[in-house]
Symmetry: C2
Subunit: 196 residues, 2 copies
């Protein structure tokens, strides 16, 4: 099923996500989005009422996507090591496709001072933190505040893709080389986080 076949509403939303999350153009106007989607700008208002509501919907769905990564990876009876690999694999794939998704969320939450869902913690994050703690007690990974562990993990996965333009400039890395480096990171991050 192509992007076009999903109907105009979905097309507009997907195009907005592409512009925000993949291209990192956070200042895109409704006109920019309509143009990229190849539709009349009025349709943005027809389907979403206002620019703000489109943004809110996109933001909410992006938050959901983030939430689900952890619940997807950390359910089931696999070992911690296997779950961790699954998490790294899924998150990296998504972040390669949409490097600026979190950047969008951060700037949007800074824009208006919206507090975001609290129940997330209990359902998704808390079990994850508990498993980390258990793994530390076993001595499998270095003891530290599990929240530091989690921050380290997500930092190593997200930041290099978020800052690719800066990194390319500072380290003189070509686009081609950068892709190669990013592909190596799944394994590399696992080894840093979970030393053999």
């Amino acid at each position: 099923m192509s992007v076009k076949d999903k109907g105009t509403e979905q097309l507009i939303k997907d195009t907005a996500k592409k512009i925000f999350f993949a291209e990192g153009k956070l200042h895109a106007t409704t006109q920019d989005i309509a143009d990229a989607a190849g539709v009349n700008r009025t349709l943005v208002h027809y389907y979403f009422r206002s620019r703000k509501l489109l943004f809110e919907q996109v933001t909410e769905e992006a938050m959901d996507e983030l939430r689900h990564i952890m619940s997807d990876a950390f359910t089931g009876k696999q070992t911690f090591q296997e779950k961790l690999k699954k998490l790294i694999n899924a998150f990296m794939d998504q972040t390669i496709a949409f490097p600026y998704r979190e950047l969008f969320l951060i700037t949007e939450t800074n824009r208006y001072d919206t507090e975001h869902a609290d129940e997330v913690h209990d359902t998704h994050t808390k079990p994850f933190l508990a498993e980390i703690k258990a793994e530390m007690d076993k001595g499998a990974i270095k003891a530290m505040d599990p929240r530091h562990f989690m921050m380290n993990l997500f930092s190593l996965m997200a930041y290099p893709l978020l800052s690719s333009k800066l990194s390319k400039g500072f380290m003189k890395i070509t686009d081609h080389e950068y892709v190669k480096l990013m592909k190596q990171r799944k394994q590399l991050i696992f080894e840093m986080i979970y030393p053999q």
Copy 2:
């Protein structure tokens, strides 16, 4: 010398940096900046001609600040270990004060497709990468592409501060606790990067 005493031009620039880099309000208008600085908006145009020129100046100075961190830390005859500590200390302090500085640079470079300074590499980054490589050859740190090492380092330093709102939400961390965690990271990052 207080912020006010530096003259209006500097005051406007400093206020803009505070809004962009400290508060992460990337969509701030010239009116927002003028209000925060307590001056008439016309002064923004008087001193900087246009919004775009103010942004370019702020961007350029932020790039310079980033460049200097590495040259500052990596000149002199200290050991690699000492230089690394110096770098972590300086970068973390700056990032705690201005967590969104890089976020601003990333979105601005995404906005217009500006290529950024190449000579940076030779003067600052290349010697740093060479020292990393030497340290790996000595066996002091785990062997990998030195560029990965550098990415890891900056990821661990920058990302948790950049994403503090998301992290606080997902892990239910209070503002107070977050500050405490961030203060611990200087040491923690050094230990992750440079295992004893």
